[in-house]
């Protein structure tokens, strides 16, 4: 008897919770899930004129994608660039988060605010600014030529993959600093003292205690930087040139000048699939590693 009452009560609690959740879930279903299903359907169609799409089922767009080497090459390059962006961002922001977590005593909040503030200012302008810094008539070249160190502008600074990687790493820094800082700041300082008392050096303590305990932050940063940057459009468009073009630029042109919605949809589906597979792989490896450590 009491269990039925409990059951009803529990159910009503669930009902209340899901009533509260329903606007958010309906939003995700109508504005994301349903459009994605239509996107998948469209990827199996054919564009026959500027505005007309033939709705008969065909795998032709996927065959197009894999038969023209440029597509797979751009997808591979997008993943490669994002991989290096993630790596560079982690390596450059870890010492920073480490310093704020362990050495800054007063005004930690101010440090965090200052380190994340640039993230909020116009993304477009920040990326554009890198074009000004790296360009032929840009800040670096005009400074070097002004001081007489070089006679000709250095052309290799802009319009390549390295420029894309540096710019993206600058743009996404805040997404690494915060999770890294949060996980480092949580670490119980007495564990570090214990490690020193047991005779570990500073480096050993970092490698055996601090770093493993900061792994949740590292994984969080990897996922939150790697996944969105695979689909970045603005940065390769402004600083990438031909060498730094990514799949997103191709997708955009398929919805613009090239006007091939089905092929654009197929490219987006394949990008999404790739990203999901890699995210699943990262999560799987993390689970394995953390199980082995414990």
């Amino acid at each position: 008897m009491s269990s039925t009452i409990q059951n009803i009560y529990f159910r009503s609690d669930q009902a209340k919770a899901y009533t509260l959740l329903s606007p958010a879930l309906i939003l995700v279903i109508l504005a994301m899930a349903a459009p994605m299903i239509v996107m998948i359907f469209t990827s199996f169609n054919t564009q026959i004129s500027m505005i007309e799409i033939d709705r008969t089922f065909t795998t032709g767009r996927y065959e197009d994608f894999f038969s023209k080497p440029i597509f797979s090459m751009l997808l591979f390059r997008s993943v490669k660039i994002s991989f290096f962006v993630t790596l560079l961002t982690l390596l450059t922001t870890y010492p920073l988060a480490y310093y704020i977590a362990f050495y800054v005593k007063k005004n930690k909040m101010l440090w965090i605010v200052l380190m994340t503030l640039p993230f909020w200012t116009s993304y477009l302008l920040r990326v554009f600014s890198w074009r000004v810094i790296l360009g032929n008539k840009g800040v670096i070249n005009s400074a070097l030529m002004g001081t007489g160190m070089i006679d000709e502008p250095l052309g290799f600074l802009l319009y390549n993959q390295a420029a894309v990687i540096i710019t993206l790493s600058h743009a996404w820094a805040a997404f690494a600093i915060l999770p890294l800082y949060v996980s480092l700041d949580k670490i119980d300082k007495s564990l570090l003292e214990a490690s020193y008392d047991l005779g570990n050096t500073k480096f050993e303590t970092f490698w055996r205690v601090t770093f493993p305990l900061s792994l949740p932050g590292v994984i969080g940063a990897i996922l939150i930087i790697f996944i969105p940057t695979v689909g970045d459009y603005v940065t390769p468009q402004l600083v990438g040139g031909t060498d730094g073009r990514m799949l997103s630029n191709m997708i955009q042109s398929l919805f613009g000048r090239a006007n091939n919605f089905p092929l654009g949809a197929a490219s987006a589906v394949l990008m999404l699939t790739t990203v999901c597979l890699i995210a699943a792989l990262v999560t799987y490896i993390t689970k394995k590693v953390s199980m082995r450590m414990s």
């Binding site: 509260l20 959740l21 310093y99 909040m109 116009s122 654009g264 949809a265 987006a268």
Partner: protein, 268 residues
């Protein structure tokens, strides 16, 4: 043990410079009397700011962005408020699944959402414009607002609500007189940050706005012409200053009345 580390400090200063130089460069050049962004600076001028004042397409784009930003931030904060309450006050069945689903739009590449929306919108025969842009911004901002509000709700003492109920208030008045005032700083922070995100958002608007330009799209259309972009620099300088002020206000509000428990986790 962890008192000083000069090497790390110097590194932090350099990183700080790396972070800020690209942002500060634009305001500097916005006063430079030349079409080219080259050092040394030529002379001081307000021309670009005056020129910006006279662009009617810019005014239209600014108005569009503000309109979309206000609607998107209000709607997504509302939706997020309910969701955050569900996650903090109830043991939701399939917690991970619904939580993940709501956060998803914030994580997957925006271009995929843009493609999905443009495909469904055009296949329904609807006209692109500010409506699909606003919908996409609501979708994109909601997860963010939810994270801010959840951390705010976890931050305050549940017993205050219980005390109100014990004193005979019903759940509506408890919400209105106890929960809401306690949440208010978080709600305003959520509104402000969602507005900034929507105001700055490029790729969704680029795919979905058609001829109704938002401000980032207007800026994008001007970047290609060297003669035109000095006034974009002036606009950029103003955007940088205003968003910085809004974001600092939001940061301050988020920690207001939280006592010693400062929260950094949901900055992004």
């Amino acid at each position: 043990m962890y008192n000083k580390n000069n090497t790390l400090f110097v590194y932090c200063v350099f990183y700080f410079a790396f972070l800020y130089i690209p942002v500060l460069l634009l305001p500097i050049f916005s006063f430079n009397d030349s079409f080219h962004m080259v050092f040394p600076l030529k002379g001081f001028t307000f021309d670009w700011y005056i020129q910006m004042w006279n662009k009617s397409r810019l005014h239209q784009a600014l108005f569009n962005s503000i309109k979309v930003g206000i609607i998107a931030s209000v709607v997504s904060t509302f939706i997020a408020l309910f969701a955050a309450k569900a996650f903090t006050r109830y043991k939701v069945k399939f917690h991970g699944l619904s939580y993940g689903a709501i956060l998803l739009p914030f994580i997957i590449p925006e271009i995929i959402i843009a493609v999905a929306l443009i495909v469904i919108w055009t296949s329904m025969g609807l006209k692109l414009g500010l409506i699909p842009v606003t919908i996409s911004h609501i979708l994109f901002c909601t997860p963010f607002c939810m994270l801010i509000l959840i951390s705010r709700m976890e931050g305050f003492d549940k017993s205050l609500e219980e005390a109100s109920m014990d004193l005979g208030e019903n759940s509506f008045w408890t919400f209105w007189r106890v929960t809401f005032p306690l949440l208010l700083p978080g709600i305003i922070a959520s509104l402000l940050l969602a507005f900034v995100i929507s105001f700055d958002e490029f790729i969704l608007a680029f795919f979905l706005s058609s001829s109704d330009q938002t401000l980032p799209i207007y800026m994008w259309s001007q970047l290609r012409f060297p003669k035109k972009f000095p006034h974009i620099l002036a606009l950029g300088a103003i955007i940088i200053i205003v968003t910085s002020l809004i974001v600092m206000t939001a940061y301050w509000l988020r920690n207001l009345g939280q006592g010693k428990k400062k929260d950094f986790s949901i900055g992004i």
